[in-house]
């Protein structure tokens, strides 16, 4: 019962110790910081891939039959979301990183602005190209035989090709512009004007869309994000190193602590065992494990006042073996010892829990029977002990017959003194022996006569 309680307390203690160490580890280790940095690096990777997707969509605007501005805009929206996440995750980092992220934000918004400019140009450029293409086709079929116009149209066609090529960074040789048409009709001049106007428009558009495109493939952006990546990686390495050292320290500390505790516990247990051993050997009989004479007087000293107080009776049964000597003589001391052990078992099982048994001599035993109301109770207990213990003892196939002679004295009826109590019981026991052995005798004042 006490042992389980102790184990329970120990388990709880070690649990709380582990918790405390773990808590301290979490509180003082660099784990959180390291994870945050790691997180932000992963987010930067997300951001970069969102940026790449955005670039791909921008490229597609250039190559798709029908440019879908929704696609590139939603790529931009996704990029912005990743950017927000990235900003959140780096919000507590050191200043140089803050500055870099701020720059990145500026570059991103510049890129968005360039994208918007570019998309505007793409729409108009497409329409201009389309317009010119149909217009030239139309004029060609209308003025098939008009030399003047045809010369101009050939020039315009070439110019259109040059512009389309220059839109793809291919620079063709310019043709000389034909002289103003003198003989042209008003209608023809109007057509020429329109073509020229759209050619001019297209030229501007191509220039603008070049500029816009250059703006969103900004090498500065690449450099900055690479730089940011490196910086984050380096603070990650730093933080991780700090974390590692703290971790090893905590681990070492815990290991040492555990070892110390285990050693201490072992020591404590050992100490407990020796002290307990000493204590029990002082008051018990090594052969039977029953209490000895010393403990008898100790107990009597305590029991007498307590019985006085409670006004109850205390009986002392003096037990002596009849025929033990002959068992020793015929079967040897081994069997004698075994007999004593068996007897002490029988005695123990035949008394109540609160009663105590003492071996005070070779074959002499005392039983203190507590809290009695009447003398008869003591006698009946003694009687039942007798019937139990007078039965034959089977020891190593030898059947041994011993009986008990019991003398009973009673506190306070016979005496109030411990020594006398013992003496009277002894006298009563002798009376039993004299009266034929194997019986119970209660002391009375004229027992000796």
């Amino acid at each position: 019962m006490k042992k389980t309680k102790l184990i329970f307390v120990l388990i709880i203690l070690s649990f709380s110790l582990i918790l405390a160490i773990y808590g301290a580890y979490h509180r003082y280790s660099n784990l959180k910081n390291t994870m945050e940095i790691q997180d932000s690096i992963l987010q930067l990777v997300e951001l970069k891939s969102a940026n790449a997707e955005w670039d791909i969509e921008l490229n597609r605007i250039h190559s798709d039959n029908i440019p879908h501005f929704d696609l590139v805009n939603s790529a931009a929206v996704k990029y912005e979301k990743e950017m927000m996440l990235f900003l959140n995750k780096t919000a507590n980092f050191k200043k140089s990183i803050q500055e870099s992220t701020a720059d990145l934000v500026i570059l991103s918004s510049m890129k968005k602005q360039s994208m918007n400019d570019y998309l505007s140009e793409v729409a108009v450029t497409r329409n201009s190209l389309k317009f010119l293409d149909t217009l030239l086709f139309f004029l060609h079929s209308q003025y098939q035989n008009d030399e003047n116009i045809l010369r101009f149209l050939t020039y315009a066609q070439h110019r259109l090709t040059t512009l389309i090529a220059s839109n793809q960074n291919i620079h063709l040789k310019e043709q000389k512009k034909p002289a103003e048409c003198q003989q042209c009709t008003l209608e023809q001049n109007e057509a020429i004007f329109k073509v020229n106007q759209h050619l001019e428009l297209l030229k501007e558009q191509v220039l603008l869309s070049h500029k816009a495109r250059e703006a969103f493939y900004n090498p500065e952006y690449e450099a900055l994000s690479t730089n940011l990546f490196d910086e984050l990686s380096s603070i990650y390495v730093e933080a991780d190193m700090v974390h590692q050292t703290i971790q090893t320290k905590v681990l070492m500390f815990t290991a040492i602590l555990v070892i110390i505790i285990v050693i201490l516990l072992i020591l404590l247990y050992w100490l407990y065992r020796t002290i307990d051993g000493h204590r029990t050997t002082g008051i018990t009989d090594p052969l039977t494990g029953l209490y000895n004479r010393k403990k008898l007087f100790e107990n009597l000293k305590n029991l007498i006042p307590s019985h006085k107080k409670s006004n109850s009776k205390l009986a002392l049964l003096f037990i002596d073996l009849d025929g033990f000597k002959s068992v020793n003589d015929t079967h040897g001391h081994d069997i004698g010892d075994k007999l004593l052990q068996l007897l002490s078992e029988r005695l123990t099982s035949s008394v109540r829990k609160q009663d105590s048994i003492y071996r005070i001599g070779g074959d002499e035993f005392i039983i203190l029977v507590q809290e009695l109301n009447r003398l008869e109770d003591a006698e009946s207990i003694a009687q039942s002990i007798l019937t139990k213990c007078n039965k034959p003892y089977l020891l190593d196939k030898n059947n041994c017959n011993v009986t008990l002679s019991i003398g009973v004295s009673l506190f306070p009826d016979h005496t109030e003194e411990p020594n006398k109590l013992l003496k009277y019981a002894d006298e009563a026991m002798y009376k039993s022996k004299r009266n034929g052995k194997g019986i119970v005798t209660t002391w009375h004042s004229d027992i000796c006569s």
Binding site: I56, N65, I66, L119, K130, N167
Partner: protein
């Protein structure tokens, strides 16, 4: 008719990428199909190829169909709708969002410009399909724009110190808010509910049905109008899911535009969405053009340098009418 190509090498790479993204999108959006297909691997290939062909044919149109939102939180949507028409949210309790964005008038107000405001009111329908918000496209998200209009005295000028106690006394609101939100009525939750309403106010049109394969959803004239719209190049600017709302242009790229009475201030604007345009007269940012046909004519002249015939204009107008949301 495409003039501008990257080198063929790059083009191939991009096409592979685009097919992969399409596959990915398809699988992601149709998780069920995905599981179904997983067990029938051969069918996977067939269906994915079919679906990507379908997607390709959609993607080759400059206008993409929109779909009604599924799995709406109806309670929250209804709450947003109540707030949308609640005049208590305005400074003098004389107007609500609905005053200037009347759903019966195609989500706008039919006025040239609201008092004290610089621009004509745009439609609120399908507004979340725009990539840029407002005529100048200053916002790319609805939330900051909503916070701005609630705060701006000339639009709403919400007096929160009045609104919150008033709503708390309102039994219907108390019930609705506490059943939807953890902390009941608060500024954040009111904004959130309006936001939920306006971002889910997506109403497809007959034209979307046409794009999704119902050939008879729109009239022949509207179909021809759509072809004109593409051929003349309107679709270069008015395109995408919202037929606009995704790039910036000024009015007058080919021929400068002075306005009906010569006061038009040319500036870069977000190309407006043309969904519900037939119902949202008057037109343009200054709201000076009353008829749709006039607006089309001006567009063709100043943005494209084209003069359209009356039939072409009628056809384009019919096409634009087919973009009206189907209201239930």
């Amino acid at each position: 008719m495409s003039y501008i190509y990257l080198s063929t090498n790059k083009l191939e790479k991009i096409n592979i990428y685009s097919i992969l993204t399409q596959l990915n999108n398809l699988l992601r959006t149709h998780a069920l199909t995905y599981f179904y297909l997983k067990s029938y691997f051969t069918k996977l290939i067939v269906i994915v190829v079919l679906a990507s062909i379908a997607f390709q044919s959609l993607a080759s149109e400059p206008i993409l169909p929109i779909l009604k939102k599924k799995h709406l939180n109806n309670k929250k949507f209804e709450l947003g709708k109540l707030l949308f028409v609640d005049t208590r949210l305005s400074k003098n309790q004389d107007r609500s969002c609905h005053s200037c964005h009347n759903l019966a008038l195609g989500g706008a107000d039919g006025l040239k410009k609201p008092v004290n405001l610089a621009f004509n009111s745009p439609t609120i329908l399908n507004v979340s399909k725009n990539y840029y918000i407002g005529w100048k496209g200053e916002y790319s998200q609805l939330k900051p724009q909503l916070e701005m209009i609630l705060q701006k005295p000339d639009v709403m000028g919400t007096d929160w110190a009045f609104v919150i106690p008033a709503f708390k006394k309102d039994q219907l609101y108390s019930k609705l808010f506490s059943s939807i939100y953890n902390y009941g009525i608060s500024k954040e939750n009111i904004i959130d509910a309006i936001l939920y309403y306006e971002s889910n106010l997506i109403l497809p049109s007959k034209f979307d049905e046409f794009l999704l394969g119902d050939n008879d959803a729109i009239s022949l004239s509207a179909k021809q109008g759509y072809n004109n719209f593409k051929d003349y190049g309107c679709a270069s600017c008015h395109q995408g899911a919202n037929v606009g709302g995704n790039i910036f242009q000024e009015l007058g790229v080919v021929l400068p535009y002075k306005g009906i009475i010569g006061q038009y201030k040319t500036e870069k604007l977000r190309v407006p969405s043309l969904r519900n345009v037939a119902k949202t007269a008057p037109y343009f940012s200054d709201g000076t053009v009353k008829s749709l046909k006039k607006a089309i004519e001006i567009m063709a002249k100043h943005q494209l340098g084209q003069k359209l015939t009356d039939t072409e204009i009628d056809q384009i107008a019919d096409f634009l009418k087919s973009l009206d949301s189907i209201m239930e």
